[in-house]
Symmetry: D2
Subunit: 283 residues, 4 copies
C-alpha cells in the first residue's frame, strides 16, 4: 500500500522521502525519485507532511513514539497524516501528543486494496482541524479518486473507516450464511452468486462472492486475523460511543472461531467457512 | 406488481386473462387487451400457464385451493407459475398437489419492486422440471431483464429468493448499526452514506442508505411486517436445511422489536431505528 | 411420564382408564387397577377429566381430533387436561374446539423428568377457567409436589412452561460457553463445576453440569431434537407476543447446528459440544 | 468487601495492617485490632502476605505499581494475594513483575457479596504456584466457606472468576427475556418467579429474580457499569483463549444498551429492562 501511495505522490510532483522497516522495499522507490531514509525520524525531518501506513496500533506506536520515531523529529507546524486503520482511542492519543509538541495530526485512512492504491483509486477519508485538512487535500488528490472529510476530530475518520470495514465484514457474514443454506438446498453457489451480482450490482459483492463460491481463500487478500482485529476495534468504538453493534459481535465471534480452527491466515471472506461448518458441510 | 407483469406479457403478444380480488384493479388492464375474469378458476380455464403473484402463503393457498380456485380449473398439462415470495414448504405442497392433478408447477419468484416490474427489469428465478421451465422461458423474458434457473425442484427457487431477501435484510441491519455508531461519533450520516456508495458502488446500498440517512421511512416501499415475515421464512428454510443462520435470527429479532414498538407499517429499512434506539438516539 | 402420572392418580384413589398407542405399555397399569382402553375415545367416554401427555402438537392433534379421538367422545361438561409441552397456538385451538363442543379445556404442563413424575415431585402449571382449574386441583395434587396457576387462559400455562424450558436451555448454553473457555484455559471442568454448584446451589446446575463435565451425552434424558422443537415453540411464542428473545434465537441456532452435525438424539445438554467445537476443541 | 475480609482475618488470629484510600474506612478496623497504614507500601512492608481487593485493573495497577505501591515494598519471598476481579492479562503481568522482584503472586478472586464476606461465606478461588497457594490456605479458610484451587497459573483463577460472573450475567439475560415474554402474555411476574425458584432451587435465582420481578433496581448491589466491565473482560479472555462466547457478546451488547440509556448505575439485573423495552413494555 505504502509503496503505491508514494509512487502516486511522486508522480504528482511531490518531493518524497520513504522509510520502510525492510530497506529493500524502500529502495524500490529510489529509481522513481524518492529519497530513502534510515529511520522514521530521518524521513520526516524538515518535511511538511509525514504520511504513515502501518499494520496496526502497535506498529504505528513504534514508528511514532519509539526511538528514532516521528514524534521527536517532525517540525513544529508540520502535519502527521495517519492512513493506517487504527483504533479511535489511539487516534485521540496521537492528536493530543502531536498537539503538545506543536505538530498537527490528521487521520486519513483509505478504502481500497493495493491494486486500487496503484491505480490511484483509493477513497480517502480525512478528519482533523479544517485548515490542516485543507492544506493536505492535494496529497489526497494525488493518491485517491475521491476524498470525504469525516469531521474536525481526527478519530472520527478512524471511526468511519472502521464502520466501513464493518459493512464489508457484515456482507461477508451474510454471504457465508446464505451460501451455506443454498448448498444445503442444492442450489449451485455460482448461480446464487450470479443472482446476487445482478441484484446488488456491486463489484464488492462480485469480488468477495466469487472467492466464497470458488472456495479459494488462499492466498489472502486480507487475512481473517487482520479482519478480526478490525472488528475488535469496531466493538471498542461501539463501546466508547455507547452504540451496541450486535452484528459486529456476531462477525467477531465467527472470525474468532475461524482463528480457533487455525484459519487466521486465510482471506477474511473465509468466515463463510464457519457458517458452512455449522451446517455440517465440509470445508 | 401483478399488473405491471401482465402489461409486459400483453406487450410481448400473449393472450392474457387477469383476475384480482379487487375487480377495479383488473379492469385497468382491459384497455390494454386483457380479458378480466370473475374468479381464479375462470382466469385459468383453458390457459397454458397460470401466473400467480400474491402476498403470502395464505393468500396463495386461498387462490389455488379455495373454492373457485386454480387447482380445480387448470387443465391437465398446463403449468402454474408461482411468482409470490412463499415458504419452501408451501412450494413443495404446490408441487405435489398440482402433480397429483396432472398439472405442472414451477416456482418463479422475482427480484425487483413495482417500478422494476413496470420497466421489465425484474430478475426472474424459476425452478422446476427442466422441460416445463424451458417452455416458460418466453414468459420470463417478457417480464424481466434476466432469468436464472435455480434448480429442478420448484422450492429451490423459493429458497434462493428468500436468501436474496435475507441478503438485503442483512445489509439493512449493517447500515442500521453503522449509522447509529456514526451518529454517536458525530459523523454526518450523509457523509457516511456517500463513502459507502463510493465503496460498494451498488444502487441497492444507495437507495436504502438514503432512506435511512434521511430517516424517511414512510410511505413504505416494503413494510417491516412483510420483511419480518420473509425473514421468518428464511429461518424456516434454515431449519429445514439444517443450516444455522444467526444473522437472520438477529434481523428477525430486530424486526420483531420494530413491530413491538408499533412500526410494522414503516419501510423495512426502519430496522435501522431499532439500532438507533439501542444507542439511546431519538427516532 | 404418563404411566407414572397414572400410577399416582390411582394411588390417590381415582378411577383411571388408560390408553397408549403401544397397548403393552398400557397393560402394565392394569395390575395397579387401571382399566385399559382400545382408543382415546373409549378411554374418555363418561369420564370427568381426560389427561393427555404426548410428545408434541402433532401427536396430540391425532389423539384429540383424529378418528377415535377424544374430541368426539368426551362428554359435555367434562374437561380435557393437556399436560404435553405444546405450542401456545395449539392450546388456543384446543380451547376453542372443546368449547364449541360444550367441553372444557385446561392446559396443565408439568416440570420434571420421569423420575420426578414417579416420585410425585412434578411442578404442575395449570391455566384455564378458574372454576374448572379448581375442580382439577385434586388431580394436580395427586401427581405433583406443587401447583402454580398461570392464568385464566389455557395457553398462558403453555407459555410459562415454554419460558421455563427456555431458562434451562439458556443455562445449558451458558455452561457450554464457559466450559469451552475453561478447557482452553486449562482449568479442569469438574473444578469449574464444583464452584458453580457451590455458587448457584441448584440441583439443576449440578445435574446438567455433571453431564457436560463428564461429556456423557448418551443415553439422552431429553434429546436435542426435542429441545430444539421446544425452543422453536418459545420463538413462536415470542413472535406472537412481540417480545424479542435473542438468547432463545442463539440457543435455537446452536441446537440446529447440533442437529446438522448428526447429534439430534444426544442429550440436549450436548449443545455444549457446539461451543466446544467452535473453540477448536475435540468432541 | 475488604473490611469484612480484614475483620475475619483478625478474628482468625492474624496480625493485619490495613490501607484504604479513604483513611476513615481503614480506621474503623483499628478498634478490632488492625494497624492502619498511610500507604500500600507501608501496609505491606515486612508482611508475609499482602491481600488486595480493588475495583478493577486500573485501581490495582495504581496500588501495586504506583508511587508508594506494593511492588516496591513487599519483601522477597512474600506473596501478593490479588482478590480483585481483574483481567487475565493483568494477572499475567502481575505474575511476571512480582517474580522479577523475587516476590510471589497468587490470584485469589472470591464469589460473594459484602454480606457473604461478613458472614465468612465467600467462595475463594486461588491459583498459582502450588506451594505458595498451600501456604496461603489458612488465609482463605479465614475469609471463606470453601476454597477451590483453579490451577498453577494465577490468571487461571481470574479466568474462572470471570466465567462464574458470566454464568450469573447469562442467568440475568435469560430472566430478562423470559419476564418480558411473560408480561406480554399477561402471566404475573411473581408467579413465573415462584415456578423458577421451585424449578432451579437456587438462592441466586431467587434473589435476582425477585429484584427483576419487583423492578427495584436501585440501590444497586452490583452496578451495570461494573457488570459490563466484567463481561468485557470475559470477552477479552474468550479472545485470548480463542473460545467464542456469543452469549457473552449478547449480554455485553445489552448491558451497553443499558448504559447508553443512562442506567449504568442501576443493579446489573436491570439488563432485564433492556429486554422489556425491546418488547415495547414500559420500564
Amino acid at each position: 500500500m505504502g509503496a503505491a501511495m508514494a509512487r502516486n505522490l511522486l508522480q504528482a510532483g511531490n518531493e518524497v522521502t520513504v522509510y520502510n522497516r525492510s530497506r529493500a522495499k524502500a529502495e524500490e522507490l529510489f529509481a522513481q525519485g524518492a529519497r530513502v531514509a534510515a529511520s522514521p525520524a530521518e524521513a520526516v525531518r524538515d518535511c511538511e507532511a509525514a504520511i504513515t501506513m502501518l499494520a496496526d496500533d502497535a506498529a504505528l506506536e513504534g514508528v511514532v513514539f519509539g526511538p528514532g520515531g516521528i514524534a521527536e523529529a517532525l517540525g513544529a507546524g508540520a502535519v502527521h497524516v495517519g492512513s493506517s486503520t487504527i483504533s479511535s482511542a489511539f487516534a485521540r492519543r496521537l492528536t493530543a501528543e502531536h498537539s503538545s509538541r506543536g505538530q498537527h495530526y490528521v487521520s486519513a485512512p483509505v478504502f481500497g486494496r493495493p491494486d486500487a492504491a496503484a491505480a490511484k483509486k483509493l477513497l480517502v477519508v480525512p478528519a482533523g482541524d479544517a485548515d490542516i485538512v485543507k492544506r493536505c487535500l492535494p496529497l489526497f488528490d494525488a493518491i485517491g479518486r475521491q476524498t470525504f472529510v469525516a469531521g474536525t476530530e481526527p478519530w472520527q475518520a478512524n471511526a468511519l473507516k472502521l464502520c466501513g470495514n464493518f459493512m464489508i465484514a457484515a456482507m461477508l457474514e451474510s454471504f457465508g450464511e446464505a451460501f451455506a443454506a443454498m448448498r444445503k438446498a442444492q442450489v449451485a453457489p455460482h448461480l446464487f452468486l450470479d443472482v446476487m451480482v445482478a441484484l446488488f450490482g456491486s463489484p464488492v459483492y462480485a469480488g468477495y462472492g466469487k472467492i466464497i463460491a470458488d472456495e479459494l481463500f488462499e492466498p489472502a487478500g486480507f487475512a481473517v486475523r487482520v479482519g478480526h482485529k478490525d472488528v475488535r476495534l469496531v466493538l471498542d468504538l461501539a463501546r466508547e460511543c455507547a452504540a451496541p453493534m450486535p452484528l459486529a459481535s456476531l462477525v467477531h465471534d465467527h472470525m474468532l472461531e475461524a482463528i480457533a480452527l487455525g484459519h487466521g491466515e486465510r482471506d477474511w471472506s473465509s468466515v463463510a467457512q464457519v457458517s458452512a461448518k455449522h451446517a455440517g458441510l465440509p470445508g
